[in-house]
């Protein structure tokens, strides 16, 4: 094949191409296709990993958000203990509980309905 024949203009460039160039372009295309396919596989694997991890992070985030919310409520409402109950810690020793006289009006407040309210009359958890 005569390479000086069959020339044509391509891609708006002034460069002239011949049959050999067509072979080169074809090969560049084949290799680029494989490379693109592999990149697509990589991206798919990355997304699958992300989807697998998402529920885990979501659960962690939910617990953390609840914990923070508990701390905020604790700070706003005196005497309330929510964060401790969220982490499900063993019951604190009786000596650490705030001593409240049974006769004290503080033992019977409207807040007593809220979970975690300190009540010295309650028996310690096993």
């Amino acid at each position: 094949m005569n390479t000086t024949e069959n020339k044509e203009y391509i891609y708006g460039d002034e460069e002239r191409i011949d049959a050999l160039d067509h072979l080169i372009f074809h090969e560049i295309g084949q290799q680029a296709q494989w490379a693109q396919t592999m990149k697509m596989w990589e991206e798919r694997a990355r997304q699958q990993r992300r989807h697998r991890l998402l529920p885990v992070f979501s659960n962690i985030a939910s617990v953390a958000a609840l914990f923070v919310l508990g701390l905020i409520v604790e700070a706003m409402v005196p005497g309330i203990k929510i964060a401790d109950s969220l982490v499900d810690s063993p019951a604190a020793p009786a000596t650490e509980q705030t001593p409240v006289q049974p006769s004290s009006p503080a033992a019977v407040t409207p807040d007593s309905a809220v979970i975690g309210i300190v009540d010295s009359t309650a028996s310690p958890q096993p």
Binding site: M1, Y11, I28, Q31, M38, W41, E42
Partner: protein, 213 residues
């Protein structure tokens, strides 16, 4: 660590029929193996992903252009003018290609001397100038030579030519993607030189094998 459940024969067949479902699984298994052994093979971890992909494209193009093919139930490769059974697995062969690409990169980056003691690297080059003109149809020989030369071009040329000729990007687009080229004229010159180098190398190989250009 080994890639289980895969034979070289299956891989060759999957590449030839472009079984993307199978090849995707192979790709990930192969990459896991590659990364597991990369620390022992490569001096730096830079560009490891790119090297792996380039090496795998190289291997798969060798299969597609029938430089590697099944013969009498065995995986064979054209070497020294003959189709010979491969002495190593395709995975070992892949690692050798990756190692060579890595060294070439280092040599370019750090001007290191390439001291090549690896038998596999010799095998990789052994058939470069010894293709039998009668055993392979001329069309296949031409395609194989073009594939080999294009596979060997520098990452810089690969990027420029792929963007321009495959993705049909304009020179302005490529200029924006490649800050290394400062002017449009410089980029145009680079593109021209890359193409010219490919043409010259291919014509030289054609000439050695008395193939029509």
């Amino acid at each position: 660590m080994q890639i289980v459940n895969w034979t070289d024969e299956q891989m060759v067949a999957a590449v030839l029929r472009r079984d993307n479902l199978l090849l995707e699984r192979y790709y990930h298994d192969c990459k896991a193996y590659f990364l597991h052994h990369a620390a022992a093979v490569f001096v730096t971890e830079a560009h490891i992903d790119d090297i792996f992909q380039e090496a795998l494209v190289h291997l798969w193009r060798e299969i597609e252009t029938h430089r590697i093919e099944m013969h009498e139930g065995r995986v064979c490769r054209w070497a020294e003018g003959q189709l010979l059974p491969m002495q190593s697995s395709l995975l070992t062969f892949l690692m050798a290609i990756a190692k060579r690409k890595h060294w070439e990169l280092l040599r370019k980056q750090q001007r290191m001397l390439l001291t090549d003691n690896d038998r596999m690297l010799e095998v990789l080059d052994s058939d470069r100038y010894a293709e039998p003109t009668d055993a392979i149809p001329e069309r296949d020989q031409r395609e194989r030579i073009v594939a080999d030369v294009v596979l060997g071009m520098s990452p810089r040329c690969r990027q420029i030519l792929t963007l321009f000729y495959y993705e049909h990007r304009t020179l302005d687009d490529i200029l924006a993607l490649r800050p290394e080229n400062q002017t449009k004229q410089g980029l145009k010159t680079s593109k021209y030189k890359c193409m010219q180098r490919l043409r010259e190398q291919i014509r030289e190989r054609f000439h050695q094998l008395h193939l029509n250009p």
